[in-house]
Symmetry: C2
């Protein structure tokens, strides 16, 4: 008659409620779908009550499952808070976290993540290292940054690399652009177009690096600092752009511009975090990475944790 309930089960319930789907819940917890299915069955046997309604998609919680999810909502934040408090006991409250960013759109999700982090670690000094750097990792070496957000895994024994998430990039066309006739764009389609981008070097654009350069295509470029401005240019037929789908979801829904996948598999961009080796074990650094992942997956549509 002893209780078998553990925090693990509460985390599972929340993941199921949030994703409405065992398979995705399992991914979020870094477990297999099978593990969750077994776990759930054991819990339901223990309480002798169903916890989720199987005959519905998305999966919904039963009243009993809901009670547990409410419990989870109530206590998991307390647990996280206590763990942070202990990390602070060990390391002290203070510290600094200078963030180097190489991609413009990052700011969209970085800001909310930083806000959340600030409430957990008010004594940690948060900074964004100004300007955009071709090689943010060198900033780590020079101790001008503590954490870099990069788009390719850095294979380097002095650097620890942690995965953030991936998302797909889409080509953006004016609604009446002739290329909208195609279901997807290939490298060749860009040859005669003007490419509208943020003002960064070629090698920092995933589209150029992964698609156009391999195909030997070098379209005209035009740049703008702001996402809205880029969209404005696209809409007025000055060229085409390639941006993360989540950053333009809103404009697509309003019908301002049209999106098309790039290449048959889509153009998938990844983001990673780089820190000087060993630094990833500092509690507030680990917590910041965790926060970036959680906040982003929550706010950005179509983002997948790595």
């Amino acid at each position: 008659m002893q209780s078998i309930l553990e925090l693990r089960h509460l985390r599972t319930l929340l993941a199921i409620r949030d994703t409405g789907n065992l398979t995705r819940a399992a991914e979020r917890l870094f477990l297999t779908q099978s593990a969750l299915s077994h776990q759930l069955r054991l819990l339901e046997e223990h309480f002798a009550l169903p916890l989720v309604m199987r005959k519905s998609s998305p999966l919904k919680l039963t009243p009993a499952g809901d009670k547990l999810a409410q419990l989870a909502d109530a206590i998991l934040p307390q647990v996280a808070h206590a763990e942070r408090a202990i990390a602070k006991l060990r390391e002290g409250e203070a510290g600094q976290l200078r963030i180097a960013v190489e991609c413009h759109t990052c700011f969209d999700w970085l800001m909310p993540a930083m806000d959340t982090f600030r409430t957990h670690w008010p004594e940690v000094e948060l900074d964004i290292v100004s300007g955009f750097h071709a090689d943010p990792v060198s900033l780590l070496y020079e101790d001008r940054a503590d954490l870099a957000i990069i788009s390719e895994v850095e294979d380097n024994p002095d650097i620890a690399c942690l995965p953030l998430f991936s998302f797909d990039m889409v080509a953006l066309l004016a609604n009446d652009h002739p290329l909208t006739a195609k279901p997807r764009l290939e490298a060749a389609d860009f040859a005669t177009e003007t490419l509208i981008t943020y003002p960064v070097a070629d090698e920092m654009l995933d589209l150029v690096k992964k698609v156009l350069k391999p195909a030997g295509i070098k379209p005209q470029r035009r740049t703008s600092e702001l996402t809205v401005a880029i969209l404005q240019l696209v809409a007025s037929r000055r060229g085409i752009a390639a941006l993360p789908r989540w950053s333009v979801q809103h404009y697509l829904e309003k019908g301002y511009v049209t999106a098309r996948p790039i290449t048959a598999n889509g153009l998938i961009a990844e983001l990673h975090v780089a820190v000087n080796k060993g630094r990833e074990e500092t509690a507030y650094v680990a917590d910041f990475v965790q926060t970036m992942r959680e906040v982003s997956v929550l706010n950005l549509p179509g983002v997948t944790l790595l």
Copy 2:
């Protein structure tokens, strides 16, 4: 960097804080001392901080351990509450629990336990089956009671028997009684004394059943319903009594009467719960047994859980 913390660990921390002692904490959790030692080491490795101060008896928690204990205080009641809520979903709120009692002193600890239980299960009708019954188990058979508190394990396939706790009985003497000269009393010492007891049959008195009858000794009896009255009689040299130590602790501390162990090993009494087979799985019945154990071990000195 994933958290390994589980509810199990929080329960351990509380047990350590409450008992100040790994060995007793382990008993309380029905684990070995070794298990707790390993568990604690793993936790401390995880947080890279000591959680309890080893060089002190009783064991004390470090600030980090204290943080976790506070967390436990905050969330374990919530967990228990949610589990009861789910049990109620399954079984409905209501039910009845008629308690048959065979021992007089039981009321001292039964009342607080019933009070606690009532706050958890307000819709369960609590009753004490009036009068004292030589055979409370027969009340279960006749469905005149749902739960009996008995002093010997009932070996019966229709009855489920659950352990409560044990405690030692002491002989009570007037402070100037000649027998106070002896470090302990043996059966023979009772031969010429008047035994003051509650008004119950011989076979329900542990002293008679386990010590005097086997020795063929049958002292004079005098009875009283009330513990204070019995003590009053003892103090005024009308005879000697045998009562649970915890029920007279208070009077002993004030020096009203003197206590002596009975026989070399002491006279250990046990209490158990009997319910009709299967009934022990009803959530509120299981919870009542749990409550009786917890409340008693908390309030009564020298009581050991079975």
